[in-house]
């Protein structure tokens, strides 16, 4: 497939935005359980939500560049019964709305305890809104990944690993950013977020390596003989019906050399998994804001390469009809 930068930015930015929100909410839940110090609702939760919202809005903006008719984008919310893309289109704004609400409630200090569960768990409005937003965040990971995983013809994508990867890599980048954000706001959560960021990065590495291994030994379900229905082991395309290019030759081929694709794969392995973990572990004790932000930027750049490779790696069966020039 041809990697489209609009989609690469959409998936990586909203993945990090969801991860950042989930990190904030995890911090809140831990502090309610008295496992962590409570944070200031304005400087930490409100501005943190704004940062998450900013990433989500950037992702949403990037997605419009993928459309031929962005002015009709509202129509894409209609087919949620069958289309994962339509579900994503609905879930993303709903999630953004809840994150905004979470930020606003924290900003205006509407955090009075509403009721207490079993005399132990004080529940305020932000906890409830955050819970809804958390559900939406995971629903969004699911719908984003299922857009790809549901296409059974694209065998590289048609796997539960796609959903696991999108979720874990989003969580990893979100928690890495949360560690940097905590260092910036002098919140006493840097070690906590670094710990989870390293865990999610490592889990993401395991699942991404699993999908790399799976895809390296994938068994193609169709060959040229299935494509044209002629039973012979040796079929060579002599003409694809036109001399110039077409949509089919542009959209489904990345047009880069095999060595470039390998370079992108190796780059993302180093940038997403190895470098950020090394930086974060060395920076965690110092609580250095600069180093943690470098870790996030490096990991984000790596995720762009990872998403590029995700698209370039997928072999669409239609390519069987476009093997020849001329």
């Amino acid at each position: 497939m041809h990697p489209a930068f609009s989609v690469i930015f959409l998936t990586t930015l909203i993945g990090a935005g969801q991860g950042l929100f989930l990190a904030l909410y995890t911090g809140q839940v831990y502090s309610i359980a008295n496992l962590l110090d409570p944070q200031d609702s304005v400087t930490f939760y409100a501005w943190g939500s704004l940062l998450a919202l900013f990433l989500l809005a950037l992702g949403l903006l990037a997605s419009f560049f993928h459309l031929g008719h962005p002015e009709r984008a509202w129509r894409s919310a209609t087919q949620w019964r069958t289309s994962w893309l339509s579900r994503e289109v609905i879930v993303l704004p709903v999630f953004m709305f809840f994150v905004m609400l979470y930020g606003l409630f924290n900003y205006f200090g509407l955090t009075d305890v509403l009721f207490v569960v079993r005399g132990q768990l004080p529940v305020d409005s932000t906890l409830l809104i955050g819970l809804l937003a958390t559900l939406m965040a995971f629903a969004l990971y699911l719908s984003t990944a299922m857009i790809y995983a549901s296409l059974k013809f694209l065998q590289e994508w048609h796997s539960p690993l796609t959903v696991v990867n999108y979720t874990l890599l989003g969580l990893a980048s979100g928690f890495t950013l949360a560690a940097g954000f905590a260092a910036w706001t002098h919140a006493n959560l840097v070690g906590f977020y670094v710990g989870w960021a390293v865990i999610f990065t490592m889990l993401g590495m395991i699942s991404r390596f699993a999908s790399l291994y799976r895809n390296s030994r994938i068994k193609r379900l169709v060959e040229t003989s299935n494509a044209i229905g002629v039973k012979h082991n040796r079929i060579v395309q002599k003409s694809q019906g036109f001399m110039g290019g077409s949509f089919n030759t542009r959209e489904f081929f990345h047009g880069k050399s095999a060595s470039f694709v390998r370079f992108m794969r190796n780059s993302f392995i180093v940038l997403v998994f190895i470098v950020p973990v090394v930086i974060m572990i060395s920076a965690a004790n110092a609580g250095s804001f600069h180093l943690l932000i470098v870790a996030f930027v490096v990991q984000y750049l790596g995720l762009i390469a990872e998403r590029w490779y995700f698209f370039a790696d997928a072999q669409h069966p239609q390519n069987l009809y476009y093997q020849a020039n001329g």
């Binding site: 209609t78 040229t224 044209i228 079929i235 002599k238 669409h316 069966p317």
Partner: protein
């Protein structure tokens, strides 16, 4: 239920591209707007087509065979491009099974083209919407045309009659009979898309002739040799 479809005879197709050009002509001048081309007379020309004729070489020299392969939307009975469309622009007509795109609803997200394993959909770079073969829906449903013209443009233009058009759900239709009697098959049936269009395979007419049938011992045309009758009965004269 009616399911209109094409049946394309690969044994008859000579790869002349008449169906490609007539398709382009009809569908670029219709009510749905042009099928836009970019740089048609310049370097690196490109454009939108509903129909292509491709050529494949089967086998290894000298035992090769050239297969011309016309390729257009197969109007699947389980079209994978339809449920993925987020806007409902992509749909399958209830009354005749033709898979169509509503150009006024399409947002040009290209997701349906990813979901089609055959690569039958193309984005029109001018209109920025997804386009595909309509089976000339504006011809085949136009009752002001005489009935013999209510066929897709490609079918009418094919000089060798390699393209048949009809209802594959009607067991007595020309296309159903052709599929049944001449080994019609679908493309990549393993995906479960149930393409409505079928292809008829390449066929070779062969008759078995043995050496002794070519060289009859009592061939009367062999004037130089003495007639075998003069030498008594031969095997051919024996009444079995």
């Amino acid at each position: 239920m009616t399911q209109l479809a094409l049946v394309i005879d690969l044994n008859v197709c000579v790869g002349c591209h008449a169906c490609v050009t007539s398709c382009k002509q009809w569908n670029t001048s219709g009510w749905a707007g042009p099928l836009a081309d970019q740089r048609p007379y310049d370097q690196d020309p490109t454009g939108t087509f509903f129909n292509r004729v491709q050529t494949f070489e089967v086998g290894e020299y000298p035992n090769t065979e050239t297969v011309h392969f016309p390729k257009s939307c197969l109007h699947c009975e389980e079209p994978p491009c339809v449920p993925v469309c987020p806007t409902g622009a992509s749909y399958k007509r209830e009354d005749n099974g033709v898979v169509l795109v509503d150009y006024d609803k399409c947002i040009g997200c290209k997701y349906c083209s990813w979901a089609c394993p055959y690569g039958m959909r193309e984005l029109d770079e001018n209109q920025k919407v997804m386009k595909k073969c309509t089976l000339c829906i504006d011809r085949i449903t136009d009752e002001s045309l005489p009935e013999r013209e209510r066929k897709p443009s490609c079918v009418l233009s094919c000089p060798t009659d390699a393209r048949l058009f009809g209802d594959v759900h009607d067991p007595d239709s020309e296309v159903s009979v052709a599929i049944r009697e001449q080994g019609g098959y679908q493309l990549m049936p393993e995906w479960g898309t149930k393409p409505a269009n079928h292809y008829l395979p390449r066929r070779k007419a062969k008759i078995q002739i043995h050496e002794d049938e070519l060289d009859r011992a009592d061939n009367p045309l062999k004037k130089e040799a003495p007639l075998p009758a003069a030498e008594g009965e031969t095997l051919d004269d024996v009444a079995w």
